[in-house]
Symmetry: C2
Subunit: 569 residues, 2 copies
């Protein structure tokens, strides 16, 4: 590409609109342009990067024998009503009517559409397993679109769907997908973590997320400092330790207290000594309308874990202040496990506490120095909370750390969730029908770009890895129009590099070298060659590898081979 024929659209400054560094870098590099909250045009430089990532993904998917198709963006809502997800997605779905008042949605994902398609074409176990994929624009009407393309409302995904006769076959393909995703992200140059995750609105019973650590991440990722254990905080189990609580040292007694904050601020008790009593609604299965939960003061409940407990309602519903006061006849801040008329579930960690502090169910009073067995019967225990930094790792190796991550991909073993709701069968050898088994696998393509940028930039702009850079090499001539020899040299260099299969841009604009340099640094070109008269006198050109601080001089005769070795190997 010649810069005179290209459209950089780089910006020296961005408006106040930019919310964070990645977004600002993308705006300044002229990669994207916002048309509405969470909706972007992809400008030439952004699209070049996007195309390169798409091509790598397509190549890897083809290599594992996945077959590409393209499913529609506009989907009849009746398919979503069949699967039950129309309600579940709620306002996240963009909904529309056609001129005949038929109802449609813009696809945020395509499980329903592909299942419908498959049910019309696949009838026999002989046609299985298959993996289908597409690269398609998706839509999600986010409550709070932000960080540019990290959480957009119109975005590009690669989504794949696999179909199987049984769970065994699904597991095999799931592993293949796990591996091919790892290979894709490794090729793109991403440092990523595969973490165990919740299956959420997709359903199914096993799922992994591919996470990239990021300050702008919206997920909390839990790691062990001594093993490969990694999980989404939502999903990370806390360990039920076989330890017993310390022996009682204190005597239980009732103290007067005006407000619970006095426990810490005035009486100077450690928050780790306090047990919170929370009241939630019971499930339909439970014969109790309310359930009490006991959690250590510094811990947070984990909604997904609570919803899995058979006695607790799903979706989780906390009792209101009014409900607590009416039914349990006590203000919520003085709730405690002694003399309460509802079933109690305690978090694992609560069982290990000794000489602890609890509400007394008497207004203005708290118990201190309480101990299990001696003072109160230990209720049934369960994993109710998010793990905390410093907790032991569930695999028994090391302790846990928590970091923020961006989810760039998610894979699910859906099993028969969709085939049961949408009635999709295949027959076995004997002609007997059974529900088809399914997996689904998504990569957030536009989001990958944000993740890459966060992993690699400096004060001058983005630094892309060779494989997805908008251009791999930039040739910048100094005052080409004043020194005739330079033009000939850069033209030769340009053509030789192009013919070697290197993606090169020659800046043939009538611009100062500073302007040229700023543009190619902003857009993240990793290899920059400066061709100037002084260095040419000693048969050298200047070379700057963006991740390095300094420029080096390289023999003009050697520069093409030098770059070929750097880039093509």
């Amino acid at each position: 590409m010649r810069a005179s024929k290209y459209l950089f659209l780089t910006l020296k400054k961005t408006s106040n609109d930019s919310e964070n560094i990645i977004y600002e870098l993308m705006l300044r590099a002229g990669m994207i342009y916002k048309i509405s909250s969470g909706i972007y045009s992809w400008l030439p430089t952004g699209l070049r990067v996007l195309h390169k990532i798409k091509n790598i993904i397509r190549e890897e998917m083809n290599n594992i024998g996945a077959i590409e198709l393209s499913l529609p963006i506009v989907q009849p809502i009746k398919l979503w009503e069949k699967s039950g997800r129309s309600e579940q997605y709620g306002f996240d779905l963009f909904r529309l009517f056609d001129r005949r008042k038929r109802s449609f949605i813009l696809g945020p994902t395509h499980e329903e559409v592909i299942s419908d398609l498959i049910s019309n074409f696949i009838t026999s176990y002989k046609q299985l397993p298959i993996i289908l994929f597409q690269i398609q624009t998706k839509f999600r009407d986010e409550t709070r679109p932000r960080f540019g393309v990290v959480r957009a409302r119109e975005f590009l995904m690669k989504d794949a769907y696999s179909f199987h006769f049984d769970q065994e076959s699904l597991k095999k393909t799931y592993n293949i997908m796990y591996n091919v995703y790892s290979r894709i992200f490794t090729r793109i140059g991403l440092k990523f973590y595969v973490v165990k995750a919740d299956t959420g609105s997709m359903g199914g019973n096993c799922s992994h997320e591919f996470q990239v650590l990021s300050k702008n991440g919206e997920d909390n990722i839990v790691f062990s400092n001594k093993s490969n254990f990694a999980a989404n905080l939502e999903f990370a189990e806390s360990v039920k330790l076989s330890l017993k609580p310390n022996k009682p040292k204190e005597k239980m007694c009732l103290i007067d207290i005006k407000s619970t904050s006095d426990l810490i601020n005035k009486f100077n008790f450690s928050i780790k000594k306090i047990i919170k009593t929370l009241i939630v609604h019971g499930s339909k299965k439970s014969s109790h309308s309310l359930i009490a939960l006991l959690i250590r003061g510094d811990h947070d409940v984990n909604v997904l874990k609570l919803e899995k407990h058979p006695l607790i309602s799903k979706p989780l519903k906390f009792a209101t202040k009014k409900e607590i006061e009416t039914i349990l006849n006590i203000k919520p801040e003085f709730l405690g496990p002694i003399n309460i008329s509802v079933p109690i579930i305690a978090d694992y960690s609560v069982a290990l506490m000794s000489d602890f502090i609890i509400g007394s169910n008497i207004e203005g009073k708290y118990y201190i120095g309480v101990n299990w067995v001696r003072d109160i019967h230990l209720p049934s225990t369960y994993d109710l909370r998010n793990v905390s930094e410093g907790d032991p790792s569930p695999d028994g190796k090391g302790i846990l750390q928590i970091k923020r991550g961006i989810e760039i991909a998610h894979i699910f073993q859906l099993g028969t969730k969709y085939s049961e709701s949408m009635k999709i069968f295949v027959h076995d050898k004997k002609g007997i029908n059974k529900f088809i088994t399914m997996g689904c696998y998504g990569i957030g393509i536009t989001r990958i770009i944000a993740a890459i940028i966060e992993q690699s930039y400096d004060e001058h702009g983005i630094i892309f890895p060779d494989i997805i850079a908008p251009f791999q090499v930039a040739i910048l001539p100094v005052n080409m129009n004043l020194h005739f020899g330079i033009k000939k040299i850069v033209e030769t260099l340009y053509i030789e590099l192009k013919q070697s299969g290197i993606d090169v841009i020659l800046d043939d604009r009538d611009e100062r070298i500073g302007v040229m340099f700023a543009d190619v640094e902003l857009i993240g070109v990793p290899h920059i060659i400066i061709v100037g008269n002084n260095n040419l006198k000693i048969n050298k050109v200047e070379y700057k590898f963006r991740p390095d601080k300094n420029k080096v001089l390289i023999d003009l005769n050697n520069i093409v081979n030098f770059l070929k070795e750097k880039i093509l190997n």
Copy 2:
């Protein structure tokens, strides 16, 4: 590709749903699958063809220095209100609201979005001219989606937009686009016609359509039998001949008539002798609320031409029966140009008539044997009608023929239509602002496929040209599992062809040769090699070129070179 790893999804029969032969061929070939009226999934075979066409278009656009970007599907309606097209498109626009009740549309085209983008980045004449393009999914809520992908509601387009400092530069780029479109369609193997066209809802003042003749076409294309003249019927001018009417032979007299159909059926007058008098509303500029139009009995009025006349209202509105009876005090069927109280405009062809028949403005009576000048003053003339077969060509060479066509592309010189409504300026050398000049250029990618198929199929299925066939060569082994030698031979052949850069499918399924043959014929593979034991004994394979009726035997040693020469040259 190995057929065992591929998903043909071909159908022996289609449901009653198929509306016409192209659509039926695409369904049977497993190219598309309908999810809702005018909305399709592209199945693996269809997508392969689509990708090949996209790549050819992208390559040619890059070659002329056009720069690719990607504009969003969801567009804020406020941009369309600015340009004034929100109302103009009416129900054709898919409209939606987001969760904050902001109003959006799904883009049927992107003039507004690209103009908005350009206004933020392009400010100087120095940055011009530029050509930008994208390949994007578009939406149009058609009243009557039909013929499969010919008139779909979700469809793929390549749209390009050029920006210029002046009309001169626009014309230059317009010619480049005209030529590159011709090259693209020629490469794809389409027989097409470039015709002059109306600018319609796009606006501007010069436009050409690329049309492919088709029984399923929705456009009427007018050709000269002796020159290159071609135009859309909507747009084809009729010639104002310098001839004079024949000398009067008859005397004018008033005859009694019960109904106008009696003129032809009972009195046996030729329809070409009758002048119809039609009443339309006058424009705001006109001081008359109604205008009379005179048209020869066998001619049809052309709405677009009428709307261009300064005295006639736009949009065109015919007077109702009630309006005519109230204001002109006569039943519509007895209207005529004598003694009428509104301005009269006659079609060119009417001026050449002699001894003609007109309504008399008296109930139950018609004038016959009427002649201009002698009996009635000739009103002002204008081109009011569609041309007819047999009319002289406007370029003076030959006479006109009319055929049906599918519009596969449309190019427009928009001029300053959008820059004026959306206030987009660039400054000249002196720093003075002027409106930017614009062109736009669209190719209906999904529609091209329908056009290609209509030009090339037989009773066994589609016959694709090499360049866009889902596979160029199919290798079909006969009973590969019974004859071990065959497997080795077809594997070698497969690898050699692949390495030559030929897109080849090896049917390694455990299927009868008839099934294999049916599949590759349905999907339009142009070159088919059958490898069977009997022919191998004499070192031959069977070769079938789909457009030919017969198979021929070719030396096994020569088959790769034979195919390379056929396909790669």
